[in-house]
Symmetry: C2
Subunit: 160 residues, 2 copies
């Protein structure tokens, strides 16, 4: 797997990955009806660095990393990632995460934070715990899941 | 005390309140060197509603309220407030908060969240706890305080 910076030329491939995740509305606190243009300007925003993971020339995952807060909070980064549904379960998220840890350290970040992990996204919660993240917060009923109703969201944190 | 929507005409009065708080860098995760234009476009951003509290025609405090997350997280609001240093301790924050609760309910929000209360800001932590907020998360060392060094930040939450 090769992980590299995303470019303008990757927009269609990124959209193919992120559109079904956004439309499902189960794992990200993003408007399910977000347009392609708005979704891409979020995912590739100027406040973040965005990467893609390629396997035999096909993009199978994408992630971004950004500063989570300004000022005195600037040493903590936030990241978000999505894996192509055809590649789920093959370690793409884990590999992107390892890559992001190197990027985070290179950029001088001292910790990484997830602001809003949906508690029903058990695969993600398990993965992040196995990779050293701690649940440092729980937001009661903060997410309206399309089928389950109001569920908690977790704040997860890892010192680098 | 009269609390009303902020207008363009209030920009200088708002800046007089928020500039010293931003420059001190002790209570908000904002760049301490933020320019007046950038600070006002943050405080009066189009993603939020901003209010001012007036006492005898003088603006003594200001707050904003906004949706904290998109999509399935849209029922939780976030708010931020600052009180003029000459008016601290006179209940301005408390009164603005009562006002914001009404606004939050009118807008259909079901909960209110502080994402990043600096743990050394004891006056604020005490006030929010007395007003029904719970500490639902603690981010270890997530804020670099200008004199104390790395301190925790709290996530505080209240169901409406």
């Amino acid at each position: 797997m090769k992980i590299r910076r995303a470019s303008e030329l990757d927009q269609d491939a990124i959209w193919r990955i992120i559109e079904p995740v956004i439309r499902a509305g189960e794992t990200y606190a993003l408007d399910r009806n977000l347009s392609k243009a708005d979704a891409l300007s979020y995912w590739l925003g100027i406040d973040r660095e965005t990467f893609v993971a390629e396997e035999n020339g096909t993009i199978v995952g994408t992630y971004y990393i950004r500063q989570n807060q300004g000022g005195g909070g600037g040493h903590v980064c936030n990241w978000g990632y999505m894996t192509d549904h055809s590649a789920v379960g093959r370690g793409v998220a884990r590999e992107m995460h390892q890559h992001s840890l190197e990027i985070a350290r290179e950029r001088g970040f001292r910790a990484m934070q997830f602001n809003f992990v949906i508690s029903t996204n058990e695969r993600a919660v398990r993965l992040w715990k196995s990779l050293g993240f701690e649940e440092v917060g729980r937001l009661p009923g903060a997410f309206l899941h399309p089928t389950t109703g109001y569920v908690d969201a977790l704040v997860m944190y890892r010192i680098l």
